[in-house]
Symmetry: C2
Subunit: 192 residues, 2 copies
């Protein structure tokens, strides 16, 4: 399982053999079955999670019990509740597996130690965080400026690997539209 993470880190952050040994020493391999939780609302998010295999989602539950999906994650993506991770406060979100998945976990003190001692890793992680913020801004822009149809098409274009892997009602949840609206949009697309 670590092999995939190693390949990823080698490509993205060009770590040396010694640095990779240090990462491996604190990496926890974990398998998560479909529907199993990696994090539950109210618990503190202590780990950075790298997805080796499978598909996970981060979602929050609204006051009426509806699930609202903030993120999906697949192979070579990271997944955590950053707010809880950073603040140490109980998480507002849940992370669970949509498929049988394999992940690498690194806990916060170990992760901080790695980024402090390995500048190239730190630079890469800083870039990742910046890109993640940019992606959030682009999603907000999309939410406030595009129609449901346009957001659906955008999702299909930018995340084809997720689009064909997750149930339709979850795409509706991510886009913030009702299932009925999404069904209508899909039938319009299939008629085009």
């Amino acid at each position: 399982m670590f092999k995939t993470f190693e390949t990823y880190l080698k490509e993205k952050a060009d770590l040396t053999v010694d640095e990779m040994v240090a990462v491996r020493a604190v990496s926890i391999e974990k398998k998560i079955r479909k529907r199993q939780y990696l994090l539950q609302e109210g618990d503190v998010c202590h780990y950075n999670c790298f997805i080796v295999k499978g598909c996970l989602r981060l979602y929050r539950v609204g006051e009426d019990g509806t699930e609202h999906i903030l993120r999906f994650g697949v192979e070579n993506w990271w997944m955590s509740d950053r707010e809880s991770y950073n603040t140490g406060d109980p998480s507002k979100g849940n992370i669970d597996a949509l498929e049988n998945s394999e992940v690498i976990l690194i806990d916060k003190p170990d992760f901080n130690n790695l980024t402090t001692t390995i500048p190239r890793l730190n630079n890469f992680i800083e870039k990742l965080k910046a890109r993640s913020f940019d992606a959030s801004q682009n999603r907000i822009m999309s939410n406030i400026s595009r129609t449901a149809e346009e957001r659906y098409q955008e999702f299909m274009t930018f995340f084809p690997d997720i689009f064909y892997r997750v149930p339709l009602h979850m795409i509706a949840s991510y886009l913030g539209v009702s299932r009925e609206t999404l069904s209508r949009i899909r039938s319009q697309f299939s008629h085009k």
Copy 2:
């Protein structure tokens, strides 16, 4: 003008006298008249901007020419197009002043130098970035889970200082609702 920034930095990051001298040496004071631009779409965002006085907004223009507001900023807030600042790519957004404003600008190389040499400043900026990311996630959650009425009320509750300072059609733009919808919501509120 620097006095306000100094008070802010003293309170938030507890800088020493020498550190404050270093910050002052690279701080550029600038006045921006109402409607004047700090950044225009297509230009690269080279500066971190701290708002001493006034009110600014960051917005992008949609394909149909509509303005979509991503952020407002008032006294003691920071304002930049982070995507352009980080990547060095031309900005997708515009920043202009909604009131006559006063800002402190620090350019990217100088800012990097400050955060590298002043760990307490770096820690504070990292926390700010994390909070900014969390705010983005909360706004996405709001966009995908709440009604226009709820988002309007949320804005009024969390940003009263902005709510009473900016024109209504800009609040509509920020919330991603039409002016007509916002007028309807407001008249409902005034009848309650």
